[in-house]
């Protein structure tokens, strides 16, 4: 990071801390208008440093090797596709996947925050799915928290020398699940239950999201594994350039 980039990062972090921490003193996509104003601003502010870090991270990757843009575009498109597919689940309701695991594994978690927010804006503006007021909260759960877990698990599996594809599968699956855990927690923070407070409320929201999301998370895991396998075959030079694949063919 250059000096200029660093100072912008510092400013953004300070901004997030000021706005992000104050409201928390009281204390999937969340639908438009369903979060109180304070929470909307707080979650939005928390996202800002991640988004800026993501912007720099993408800039750096592309400056280093221009060709990686194809794989980056594909990871973005993957988020587009997966988050548009509503899939029936065992609980009798539908939900959709996040698709952010792939980008997180290939480019690192902060880069995905940019890809994710593009999709979220598209859905919020055109589809009334999610929303502009809840954009911050949704970006945090889908484009920041989920990818960070994916990335962490992928790295952990790599360190433990787990089979690479198994690692990719686990990373994408758990990242997807974690997104919905964060969503539940965000809703619970805004709507604590009268008896039991935030904890009890979080359990209730998890009860709605988790069983529905579990099979979908598995699907996301499988699809991510398939696309990584395919990319390894056809886009080996790019994957090597971004440091994903090291071994010789």
């Amino acid at each position: 990071m250059s000096k200029k980039e660093k100072s912008i990062m510092k400013l953004a972090t300070a901004f997030a801390l000021t706005f992000g921490i104050v409201p928390s003193a009281y204390a999937m996509h969340i639908m438009e208008g369903y979060l109180p104003v304070g929470y909307c601003i707080a979650w939005g502010a928390v996202c800002v440093p991640f988004l800026i870090a993501g912007f720099f991270s993408i800039q750096k990757t592309l400056r280093k090797n221009r060709k990686a843009i194809t794989v980056l575009a594909m990871s973005g498109a993957f988020v587009f596709v997966l988050s548009s597919l509503k899939i029936p689940s065992v609980t009798g309701s539908c939900s959709h996947m996040t698709g952010t695991g792939l980008g997180a594994i290939l480019f690192g978690p902060s880069a995905v925050s940019i890809l994710g927010i593009i999709v979220l804006i598209f859905q919020a503006v055109l589809l009334a799915h999610g929303g502009l007021t809840t954009l911050g909260a949704n970006t945090f759960s889908m484009a920041i928290a989920g990818p960070f877990v994916s990335f962490g698990i992928y790295r952990l599996c790599k360190a433990l020398k787990v089979n690479k594809m198994a690692g990719v599968f686990l990373a994408a699956t758990l990242g997807d699940l974690f997104t919905y855990c964060v969503t539940s927690f965000q809703l619970a923070l805004a709507y604590p239950s009268e008896i039991g407070g935030v904890g009890a409320s979080a359990v209730k929201f998890l009860g709605v999201f988790a069983p529905t999301q579990l099979p979908l998370a598995v699907i996301e895991g499988i699809l991510t594994t398939v696309i990584v396998m395919t990319l390894e075959t056809y886009a080996l030079p790019e994957l090597k350039a971004i440091g994903f694949t090291r071994e010789v063919k």
Partner: protein
């Protein structure tokens, strides 16, 4: 791509289809509403009162009502289409490039 890897991918894709489709047959008569709606019902339950969203989606405000179901599916398809288009375009290029490179060797 090795034969074994091709087979793995085929098996995995079949598995994906099964996971996605089985609930539809297993749970006959289920509504398959969005889990987002289930979430808003839960908010009502916890608060003990209907929650009035304080902001209407931009699109709904612009057309003065809820987005018609058919149009919504159109826009969702558009989203899928853009995504698939980009993936397919680059994948096509990559596959051809590999063919060409393999010939060079």
């Amino acid at each position: 791509m090795s034969r074994k890897r091709k087979q793995t991918i085929a098996v995995l894709l079949v598995l994906v289809c099964l996971i996605a489709i089985i609930p539809l047959f297993a749970l006959k008569g289920a509504e398959f509403g969005g889990s987002d709606d289930a979430g808003s019902q839960m908010i009502t339950e916890i608060r003990g009162a209907e929650y009035e969203p304080w902001f209407t989606p931009v699109m709904e405000a612009a057309i003065g009502g809820e987005l018609p179901g058919e149009i919504e599916s159109l826009l969702f398809c558009l989203q899928t289409g853009i995504g698939v288009g980009v993936i397919a375009f680059f994948m096509g290029r990559l596959v051809e490039r590999k063919k060409w490179q393999d010939k060079q060797l």
